[in-house]
């Protein structure tokens, strides 16, 4: 009787295995040669106490360079995608995502502000979160008006984005051109190249919290997509659920952006790709989106660091993929379900 549930469980399992496979295959990529065998030997020795560990230098590359970068890619990809999926449900709008709504620009402004003030990494995340939340507030207020709600929200998001980008530009003017300005500029481009254990932890903690809330609420989330009046008649508090979901999704956005800059479009593209696999039922869609986002960003990051001798900031690559996708969605709107 629960046929659909079984199928979706299989899809999720396959995605999980795919993610693990991608993680393993990502270790050997990079300038310093590390083989798959080295990885198994290293982890076999450290985790299970089997055999001998490979050379120290290999261990250092695995633990200090490759592992944090892989983890950060997965965390940020999963976080941004899950946030996009949550926003789409909350606003009943297939075009919503952290960047389209302006949440990303808000977070970027907040983070830049905190960097300028010399705050700690925790402060940067907090500042990103607060500003991002502020941009969501505007989006909620403006997006509820107008006849064509889907487009109104998208346009409102554009305005909010542009406002916060202007703010960020002002901050750049004030920044110290020797140290702070390059840091802010490079970070704004969106890149995972600065990944170390500290940035992993900065992103990990808020991502785990936000993700846990979304996963726990994932069935309720679906009730927001049928409209407030109907949800209320079914005994659901749409207001409370919406606030909880927006807080969690914005926390995910802030965590991703303050740890690795503005990596755009992931939150728009991935939920739609996943919908083709799991269907729209949020019980399966949300975890599927998180897994898929992790896989996607890891793969794109691998390309960004190996394709050319010079590393491409990953934000540029995701924009090359995401922007055409967004255009395609606008053209094909009615069918974008």
């Amino acid at each position: 009787m629960m046929k659909k549930t079984k199928k979706a469980a299989w899809v999720l399992l396959i995605l999980l295995l795919l993610l693990i496979g991608c993680i393993l295959l990502s270790f050997p990529l990079g300038r310093y040669p590390v083989s798959i065998g080295d990885i198994f030997r290293q982890f076999g020795h450290d985790l299970l106490g089997l055999g001998e560990s490979p050379a120290d230098s290999i261990g250092r590359v695995i633990y200090n360079i490759r592992l944090p970068r892989i983890l950060l890619a997965v965390i940020v990809g999963a976080g941004l995608s899950a946030a996009g999926c949550a926003y789409q449900c909350v606003f009943q709008n297939p075009m919503a995502s952290p960047d389209v709504l302006g949440a990303s620009s808000g977070a970027a402004f907040g983070a830049a502000l905190a960097i300028l003030m010399g705050l700690s990494t925790g402060g940067v995340t907090l500042s990103a979160f607060v500003m991002s939340l502020f941009s969501m507030l505007i989006a909620c207020l403006v997006g509820a008006t107008g006849k064509d709600r889907i487009m109104t929200l998208v346009l409102a998001g554009m305005m909010i984005s542009s406002l916060f980008s202007a703010g960020t530009s002002c901050l750049k003017l004030a920044a110290d051109p020797e140290s702070q300005l390059p840091e802010i500029t490079y970070w704004l481009m969106g890149s995972l190249s600065g990944a170390d254990w500290r940035s992993v932890m900065t992103a990990l903690i808020p991502t785990v919290i936000g993700m846990a809330v979304l996963l726990l609420l994932r069935w309720r989330l679906q009730l927001l997509t049928i409209g407030d009046e109907e949800a209320r008649a079914l005994g659901v508090h749409p207001g409370r659920t919406r606030i909880a979901v927006i807080l969690a999704a914005t926390l995910l956005t802030a965590a991703a952006i303050s740890s690795s800059g503005t990596i755009g479009w992931v939150g728009l593209v991935i939920p739609h790709m996943t919908r083709k696999l799991t269907g729209s039922e949020t019980r399966f869609l949300l975890p599927g989106t998180a897994l898929m986002g992790g896989i996607f960003l890891l793969v794109v990051d691998n390309v960004s660091r190996t394709l050319l001798p010079v590393e491409l900031p990953i934000g540029i690559l995701t924009a090359f993929i995401g922007a055409p996708f967004f255009l395609w969605m606008i053209v094909k709107r009615g069918g974008a379900r």
Partner: protein, 257 residues
Amino acid sequence: MKLVVDRLSFGYPHGEQLLKEVSFSAQSGELISLLGPNGTGKTTLFRCILGQLRAAGKIVLDGEPLYSLTPKALAAKVAYIPQSHSPAFSYPVEEMILMGAAAGLKWFQHPGKAEYARLDKVVENLGLQPLRHRAFDTLSGGEQQLVMMARAMMTDARVWLLDEPAANLDYGNQTRLMVLLQQLAEKGYLLIQSTHSPQQAALYSSRVLALADGKLAGDGAPSEVLDADMIQTLYGLRVKICDIPSGGRSVRVFLPD
């Protein structure tokens, strides 16, 4: 199950009074048609009974004032069946129906075995097996209306408020739907449907509430309430009324003059 609506009045602040001292009582087994011209307060009345608008006056269900219930408890007693429309995303029929289980679940709970077992029953009751795994937005209007009713059945509520359930259906589906509503009323549901068709009200409902200008202009059996004067009051239209005998009872037919 007895629903008592006692001198219900509602108006938005600084706006016109939309409902003026509406009183009626109804019980399980009734299929009531709520008639009235556009903008006369039919939807407002529904929204008051659903607790989405707080009106002056009293609404009591089985001795319990409705406004003292939590939204969850209210949802388990009174269901709302909107005109069918597709949500922003496409869900399978099964999933649409399962949403009716929300009131019985805690914040972090998902539908489990018990809910699926109830779903099976509801699906069978309404003969929805062939549609079960179809996407909701690919269904016809009549099929969508059935799914909405299945969702209401899932909530366990015995009082149903239906917003023009037959409005977008073809003649065949309209008739099938009304017969189904009659059967449900016989099973002990209390159904109140808003409708724009006096003919339909006369044919199928056991009782008519006529709402004009926010006031209850008529309340009773269709043959008592729906006379030529009432149609004139409600719709500003002169009609001729014929009662045609059919299978042991008489059927009222309205003919525009």
